[in-house]
């Protein structure tokens, strides 16, 4: 566990360093230069942080789905704790992805928010999980709350990949990768990035994932300790 934490610190520090300082040049001469994409320029650096945030958010929601499913199978309260913690982190990174995305949008397209299909879908995802927390706060008993939020976590977790991966590719829009974008729908999977950029990007992805695992671990332990305190007092 500790090695994961140290590794995530190092990887993200590297991503920050490389992502910001490696210069962009029209015709990259060495591995220490990124290609300059016309129209994007320096703002392309956001890809190192915005995409991992969105990926970690989906990861959180899928993990929340998994633990919700485990709770319904075994009725162990610990699984409910894990499910909420994952959903909370998913929300956090969803907000981060939205904020970084709208900052980038200001530079790329002129305004912070455009109701482009991808922006709209991530907003709806935010609402879905906001509703999840509203549901939890409206239910009194531990057991009922755990059961109903597990059901909802499964429903919401099923919609998350749909909103993030499918919908923005099918409906045309501004965001890179939508229908009608000439550069192809999955620039990352198709290795359209040059190798050095790909390395930094992948490092960031792994670093953020490890960070997520660390955050999840800390959060679950905090909620568990809190719950144990409550039980002890009774």
């Amino acid at each position: 566990m500790n090695s994961l934490k140290v590794l995530s610190i190092i990887l993200i520090a590297f991503t920050i360093f490389a992502g910001i300082t490696v210069p962009m040049a029209p015709q990259p001469q060495s591995i220490f230069e990124f290609p300059d994409i016309p129209g994007l320029g320096e703002t392309a650096r956001i890809i190192f942080f915005h995409v991992p945030a969105a990926w970690v958010s989906v990861l959180g929601f899928l993990i929340s789905l998994y633990f919700g499913f485990k709770y319904l199978r075994t009725k162990e309260y610990n699984y409910d704790i894990k499910s909420v913690s994952a959903a909370g982190l998913g929300m956090l990174f969803c907000v981060l992805a939205m904020v970084t995305g709208s900052l980038w949008a200001k530079f790329a397209w002129g305004s912070f928010w455009n109701w482009d299909p991808r922006e709209t879908s991530i907003f709806i995802l935010l609402l879905i999980y906001g509703a999840y927390f509203a549901l939890r706060s409206a239910l009194g008993s531990d057991e009922i709350r755990a059961r109903l939020s597990a059901v909802y976590a499964i429903l919401a977790g099923l919609t998350a990949p749909f909103f993030i991966f499918i919908m923005p590719r099918v409906i045309g829009g501004l965001h890179p990768g939508a229908e009608g974008d000439s550069s192809g729908s999955i620039p990352i999977a198709q290795l359209k990035m040059p190798l050095n950029m790909y390395i930094v990007f992948f490092t960031g992805l792994v670093g953020f994932t490890l960070l997520f695992i660390w955050l999840l671990n800390v959060r679950i332990r905090a909620v568990s300790v809190e719950h144990q305190l409550l039980i002890k007092d009774q």
Binding site: K5, A13, I16, I20, T21, W214, L215, A222, K232
Partner: protein
């Protein structure tokens, strides 16, 4: 001084970002240790 700052803007951004990241890491480590201490307390009971 201001010339130096305007010329090396990129590195200023980098240092600020790294500072923020170090701050987050230190907070996380502190939190982690606090929770470990609490958990040990429970184990003892």
């Amino acid at each position: 001084m201001s010339e130096f700052l305007s010329q090396n803007q990129l590195y200023i951004v980098l240092i600020v970002t790294l500072f923020i990241w170090i701050g987050i890491v230190l907070y996380l480590v502190r939190l982690d240790r606090k929770i470990s201490r609490l958990e040990e307390q429970f184990k003892e009971d």
